[in-house]
């Protein structure tokens, strides 16, 4: 077949290409988050003193840092699925998140007497945390990867990792409502581990499912 023949076929197929990639991504989030919330409600549920805790700075910080990570990774994903789009600004924004977390850790180290450092770092619920975050993230990761198959990531592995960061961050924000450990020391260790697991799974899924 000559290239001109192919171009004739492509021209004849010029119909409305459908919803934008952002619209598809957003449409996938709703069922993904919903399933994650239902899983959360039937397994762990929010902690008993949830309302009282909302006044506590450490408790609020957990949501700030996880939702900030979700926002920054989503913005980077939107760029990664568009060929040739610049990602510099979005990568810089994503790097700010661990810096914010490091600021929280530093403040905690200043505020806490030294003997409390280890107990707060270990916490009471570490293993539940690194198991729960991937568990709640899975429906969201699957939905997001499916939506992103409409994109054109020139680096499917990296796109999968950042999608995993996003799903893990949203799952971590959901889990934070149950988690009795509020110290930034705990968040920096266990939340990061849980999210890292999701990012790794996302990387593998991306390499398989996001090629085009």
């Amino acid at each position: 077949m000559k290239t001109d023949d192919l171009i004739r076929a492509l021209t004849s197929d010029l119909a409305d290409p459908g919803p934008s990639i952002e619209a598809r991504f957003a449409a996938a989030l709703t069922p993904g988050v919903l399933v994650a919330l239902i899983l959360f409600a039937v397994t762990l549920g929010p902690r008993p003193d949830f309302m009282a805790a909302t006044g506590d700075l450490r408790f609020v910080f957990k949501f700030v840092v996880t939702l900030l990570l979700a926002l920054c990774s989503a913005m980077l994903v939107w760029r990664l699925v568009r060929p040739g789009a610049s990602t510099r600004l979005q990568i810089a924004a994503l790097v700010v998140v661990p810096l914010v977390l490091a600021g929280g850790v530093l403040a905690e180290l200043v505020a806490l007497p030294r003997p409390l450092w280890m107990p707060r770092l270990v916490g009471v619920n570490g293993l539940v945390c690194i198991a729960s975050i991937p568990f709640f993230a899975l429906p969201l990761l699957i939905a997001a990867i499916f939506a992103l198959r409409h994109g054109a990531p020139t680096n499917p592995g990296l796109t999968g990792v950042v999608t995993g960061l996003f799903a893990g961050a949203v799952a971590a924000a959901i889990y934070a409502a149950h988690c009795p450990d509020d110290s930034p020391l705990f968040v920096a260790l266990w939340y990061s581990l849980g999210i890292a697991v999701v990012a790794a799974v996302g990387g593998v899924a991306g390499r398989v499912a996001l090629r085009w």
């Binding site: 023949d5 076929a9 021209t11 197929d13 040739g84 789009a85």
Partner: protein, 180 residues
Amino acid sequence: MSEHDIDGLMRAAMSGDAAAYNRLLTSLAPVIRSVARRGLARAGLAVEEAEDVVQETLLAIHLKRHTWDPSMPLGPWVRAIARNKMIDAMRRRGRRDHVPIDDVIDTLAADAGEPTPLPGRLDAHLQSLPDRQQSVVRAISLDGASIRETATKLNMSEGAVRVALHRGLAALSVKFGAKE
């Protein structure tokens, strides 16, 4: 054609202007071809395969056109897709290049005669499409039939022709990307 012109053509195409789309793809093809030839030559591969890369890239441009952000210039988007398809093609070549020495000698002997034009990969992929999609893609591309003429000829509705054409093109793109 300037970068500014191709942006305008693409914008017109995205709002349904088929003539603008045809002009755009026709003017992109030689640009992609020269990039592909240069890339293949630099990698020490056969320049004749450039047309496969051109066709695979045009298919990808078509099927992924919704990932172009109209507020951005089209050039970098096209180049990124072309580069990506080029790398894919080279990876596939890398896997296929381990051929026994006897085959090489046969090839060298055959090369002594009149060079016969090789059928491109697109033709091979086209043959492996389901009958319905294959007839529709052939009628529109090779015979130059319109959607309506194809519908009459194949006794299908125009809607069914459109669906078969789109699915056929998407399947061709997948076949290009598949491991061999």
